[in-house]
């Protein structure tokens, strides 16, 4: 139950920050994808099922607020959360480099899906342009941001683990 509340708060904070504050720290028109960092981190720390659910609900939130087609973001974040959940098998509490790699791969997947659904289907075929101008900068910036954000999320997760253990 506690875990559920913490995740809900995390999702809402990430979403609000992403849509309001992050525009001020965007570099060259690109901003880091905080929601993706959250989804991949939780999937990596907790496994497939939490990753899947957090992805689904944060995606749904984005959908309801910004999407023209409800369900698309939820689908993308959910799949990424599920896939990243497989990485939970090699999870270690004080490894801070490996999750960055997963977050990078996750964001690459996300931007690619996004391109396919929203641009390729409207016959915008210039993939190299979109890759260099939007995907690559976003991936790099997201990885850079995740150095801090992941540490924070990992700290919260460890704290929560200890708290729950004490109660038992």
């Amino acid at each position: 139950m506690k875990r559920f509340i913490v995740y809900t708060i995390e999702i809402i904070i990430c979403f609000v920050l992403q849509s309001s504050l992050f525009h001020y720290i965007s570099l060259a028109g690109v901003m880091p994808n905080l929601i993706l960092i959250l989804v991949v981190s939780i999937a990596y720390m907790r496994g497939r099922l939490p990753g899947l659910l957090v992805g689904f609900f944060s995606g749904l939130l984005v959908d309801l607020f910004y999407g023209s087609i409800v369900g698309l973001y939820a689908l993308m974040y959910m799949l990424i959360g599920y896939l990243a959940g497989y990485a939970n098998k090699i999870y270690s509490e004080d490894d801070y480099t490996l999750p960055l790699l997963f977050i990078g791969i996750g964001d690459l997947l996300y931007t690619f899906f996004y391109y396919v659904f929203e641009f390729l289907l409207r016959s915008r075929l210039n993939l190299p342009f979109y890759f260099i101008k939007f995907m690559l900068p976003e991936v790099i910036y997201t990885i850079a941001a995740s150095v801090i954000v992941y540490k924070l999320l990992n700290g919260i997760n460890n704290l929560l683990d200890r708290k729950l253990k004490q109660e038992e």
Binding site: V16, L21, L52, F56, I69, V70, A74, L75, Y130
Partner: protein, 283 residues
């Protein structure tokens, strides 16, 4: 003691269930778009106040940072501007005289001042889309303040976009530089119509595309494009921007050009909404 009931569900089944929900939602939102509007409104009702708060903190911080950075530049600029003020105030005086004259002439000819007479409402931009690909933004006024879908949004003296969703206390605006935006335009001087289309590839050059100009149109760089009389949603005569790089298409039938919008989308903070809708044709 804590009760612990561990239920083991294979994540695969949850995945399939959620997949089905997602696909269902996609189909649903394609077929019954208007039914989902109340749900969206409810979510917005909770989230919008938070965004407003965070947004004010963000703009406060970035303002402060900018202040520090620019102080030396500003001092220098101040000097130059003072000179300019003197010059301009002189020019202004002359212009005001001209305007007085113009007003009188207008009254004489009983000309309508279309553009100035539309009822307008000011609003503040509180958030932008969560990804880097699109240019939607959210403003802090909604149906409560008399806004509705398809109302035109201005910024400064040009067209900024159109309201695509109006909720109780916020509305969503699609900018004209968005990849999905299409506006019927018209050259002010020659009355040739064209279509102004947003393009992500041109966005960072600060330009958008103008298409479907008649090949006989007698137009040159720097001509003004305004919203056209045949546009179904945009009111007539709002400035969109200025054309450049006019080229004949390979089909030899139409011309294509680029357009620099009159609005600076990079630094957009406040907008004006015309609360009058273009009258629809009803058959």
């Amino acid at each position: 003691m804590r009760r612990r009931t561990k239920i083991h569900i294979n994540p695969k089944y949850v995945l399939f269930a959620c997949l089905a929900i997602c696909i269902g939602l996609v189909i649903l939102s394609f077929r019954y778009e208007e039914r989902l509007a109340p749900v969206k409104s409810a979510v917005g009702y909770v989230i919008t106040p938070m965004q407003k708060g965070i947004n004010s903190i963000g703009s406060f911080i970035s303002d402060k940072l900018d202040n520090l950075k620019n102080i030396s530049e500003l001092l220098e600029e101040n000097e130059q501007l003072k000179e300019q003020v003197n010059l301009l105030s002189y020019e202004n005086k002359l212009l005001r005289q001209d305007k007085y004259e113009l007003n009188e002439l207008r009254e004489l000819y009983e000309l309508d001042q279309k553009y100035l007479d539309y009822p307008k409402v000011a609003a503040r931009i509180i958030s932008k889309d969560t990804n880097n690909w699109y240019t939607f933004f959210t403003i802090d006024k909604g149906t409560r303040d008399g806004l509705a879908v398809d109302m035109n949004v201005l910024a400064g003296n040009g067209l900024a976009g159109i309201i695509v969703e109006a909720h109780y206390n916020y509305s969503k605006v699609r900018a004209i530089i968005d990849d999905k935006s299409n506006v019927h335009g018209m050259f002010l001087k020659t009355s040739d119509t064209c279509i102004v289309r947003g393009d992500l590839e041109l966005m960072e050059q600060g330009r958008i595309r103008v298409e479907m100009i008649s090949k006989d149109a007698d137009i040159y760089d720097g001509y003004e494009v305004v919203t056209s009389h045949i546009s179904p949603k945009f009111l007539q005569g709002i400035l969109i921007g200025y054309v450049s790089d006019i080229r004949l298409d390979s089909s030899n039938m139409t011309k294509t050009a680029y357009l620099t919008p009159a609005v600076d989308f990079e630094h957009l903070e406040e907008v004006l909404i015309i609360t009058e809708l273009k009258e629809q044709l009803i058959d």
